[in-house]
């Protein structure tokens, strides 16, 4: 029982990272119907931005929670700017093109970020400094949680809550909802669609960057290709929850994280990568539009 609870704790932590990345996928998809394949690489960039930021703040020499927070915010800000640049330079020109061309562009951007990353950061793994010394807190006999896991959880929850407040209760958030329903109608209501799309990319990128820094806190080896698999799985998580649906992305991420950790714990770690996809296929066969997705009937 205690093993199970321990796995659950690990799974939820890992799942909240997936959820953060999945949010960016789902928001961009909701607005542009574009699978932003480069999103996983933004997560990677987030980790590297965090690394540079911690060097600027000398956070490795004398770590403090304030510096850790600064590192997180700097990385989110820089990644948001990169997200904006990518949207403006690569995605905006193909917005009116067939969707597949936009997808290939996204793949191109993904390859560019990965290989550009190799060029700039180097192919060998870099070590992320320990911003917060690790402590283990026992919850129950046999069930422990590290303070880093707690930080991951708390930061994710805060960010998700902030996003929810933003989307539901601010003018820009409401404009985002309007744009995701209908570009044309939204622009007729005086909403600057271009601006909303840019903001969506920035928020999504910032969340992915936060995920990158949070993961780097726990497993400090970072390298330019680290975003591929988590990116792919976060996307699967977004689809699982019903793509375009924000609570769906969070639930999908958590389901995915827990399932993976359980498989690693009880079956075999080598099947870990496959389980995500088996889960996906099973759920999609039962609910073709994801857990929270609305089934859209096609009009003739």
């Amino acid at each position: 029982m205690s093993t199970f609870l321990q796995q659950l704790v690990n799974g939820v932590t890992w799942g909240s990272v997936y959820a953060l990345i999945a949010l960016g996928y789902t928001m961009v998809y909701g607005i542009l119907r574009l699978i932003n394949f480069a999103h996983g690489d933004i997560y990677m960039l987030g980790a590297f931005m965090g690394l540079y930021a911690s060097r600027w703040f000398h956070a490795a020499q004398d770590p403090s929670p304030v510096k850790a927070l600064l590192v997180l915010l700097t990385s989110m800000l820089l990644s948001a700017l990169i997200g904006m640049l990518i949207e403006r330079l690569a995605y905006k020109p193909v917005r009116k093109s067939p969707r597949l061309s936009a997808l290939i562009t996204a793949i191109g951007v993904s390859l560019l970020l990965e290989n550009g990353g190799v060029l700039v950061f180097g192919a060998d793994p870099k070590f992320f400094p320990q911003l917060i010394p690790q402590k283990t807190i026992a919850l129950l006999p046999g069930v422990a949680v590290s303070n880093q896991q707690l930080i991951v959880l708390v930061v994710s929850i805060v960010l998700m809550f902030a996003l929810r407040m933003f989307v539901l209760h601010t003018r820009t958030g409401k404009a985002m909802q309007a744009v995701s329903h209908n570009h044309m109608a939204a622009s007729l209501m005086g909403i600057s669609v271009d601006r909303i799309i840019t903001i969506t990319f920035m928020i999504g990128s910032a969340l992915a960057a936060a995920a990158g820094v949070l993961v780097a806190l726990q497993s400090p080896k970072i390298e330019p290709y680290m975003g591929i698999m988590p990116g792919l799985k976060a996307f699967v998580a977004a689809v699982l929850g019903g793509i375009g649906n924000i609570p769906g992305a969070v639930v999908g991420g958590l389901v995915m994280g827990v399932a993976e950790v359980m498989v690693t714990g009880y079956l075999s770690p080598t099947y870990r990568d496959a389980i995500a996809f088996v889960l996906l296929i099973v759920i999609l066969l039962v609910r073709p539009a994801g857990i929270f997705g609305k089934a859209v009937t096609e009009k003739v």
Partner: protein, 327 residues
């Protein structure tokens, strides 16, 4: 007369080139040429699913892997012994190897086709991106399964596959898949596929059995991807699961989209360009993949419909005569 003559001429030409080319090309160029042939097969086969039928599949590497491992396992376990037995019975070695290669390719293709059928089935329920992600999932599942089966080498890979595939076989398969696609495009069945791509509901209303056609497209595409995988295995004589990642699928999709969805000549052209481009960029070493990625983005921005659109390369197009696009 033409129906018999054209294939015959093609066959003779392939055999002649098979003799002649290895003597004039250095081994590196020759290997690139072989890869071009395999990639043409892959691109055209994926085009049957993505371009013709409009079903978005991004798991082509999985089918290729299934075919590669299926055919390689046949050759390693039985094929080599059979070949030795046939040579002992005074069958000339190239004939024996060719015949067994054909059997192994058919088996590998068949195995991939079974997977294609399994992947095609959800396409009855899922559309667009959801289908895409299921195909991606299937591809990854196949790869992870291979990684975990010790009999096929797992992560160590599968060495010692005899190098039976040569220029003749690779380009024979490429020619067959192109001929099949061209004939399909001009047939009732091809029109049915285009109709599904353009408007599934309208196609169904007109009596097209969309279910059967969609699944058939998947099976056909998977079969040829499997055959391409088999050729790949029998040319490089070594297989590793890391070859068949999501990135390989992406490479093939890039060929189809860059060539123009549904354009056969476009796929062929793009397969050639996208195989040669990374090789040509080897000179700039570290910048190679960066330039490749940038060119992909720029090409998509400047020609979103692909190099060819849905048109085919033809003399009329080259000489600037007016020609109606197909689609």
């Amino acid at each position: 007369m033409k129906r018999v003559l054209t294939p015959l001429v093609a066959l003779v030409a392939l055999l002649a080139l098979n003799r002649f080319l290895p003597t004039v090309l250095n081994p590196y160029y020759f290997q690139v040429l072989i890869l071009v042939g395999i990639n043409i097969t892959l691109a055209v086969s994926l085009n049957l699913v993505n371009g013709f039928t409009g079903q978005f599949s991004i798991g082509h590497a999985g089918f290729m892997a299934a075919g590669a491992y299926g055919s390689a396992m046949f050759t390693v376990t039985w094929g080599q012994k059979l070949a030795a037995a046939m040579v002992a019975a005074h069958v000339s070695a190239p004939v024996a190897q060719g015949a067994l290669l054909l059997v192994s390719l058919l088996l590998g293709g068949g195995l991939a086709a079974i997977f294609g059928y399994l992947v095609g089935l959800p396409s009855l329920r899922l559309r667009g991106d959801y289908l895409a992600i299921v195909t991606l999932g299937f591809g990854e599942i196949i790869r992870v399964l291979i990684l975990n089966i010790d009999a096929v080498g797992g992560a160590r890979g599968l060495p010692g596959i005899p190098q039976w595939a040569n220029f003749f076989w690779v380009f024979l398969v490429a020619t067959i898949v192109i001929a099949l696609a061209v004939n399909l495009a001009n047939s009732t069945h091809g029109r049915a596929l285009f109709a599904i791509r353009d408007d599934e509901i309208a196609a169904e209303a007109l009596g097209v059995d969309t279910t059967a056609y969609k699944v058939t497209a998947f099976v056909l595409g998977a079969f040829f991807a499997g055959v391409a995988g088999g050729l790949f295995a029998h040319y490089l004589s070594y297989l590793n699961p890391s070859t068949f990642t999501f990135l390989k699928s992406i490479e093939v999709i890039a060929m189809v989209v860059l060539g123009g969805m549904g354009s056969i000549t476009g796929s062929v052209l793009a397969a050639i360009v996208l195989t040669l481009l990374p090789e040509a960029l080897r000179a700039v070493k570290d910048y190679r993949m960066v330039i490749y990625a940038l060119m992909l983005i720029i090409l998509m921005i400047t020609r979103p419909q692909g190099l060819m659109g849905t048109r085919e390369l033809s003399w009329a197009l080259l000489t600037g005569k007016k020609q109606g696009g197909r689609s």
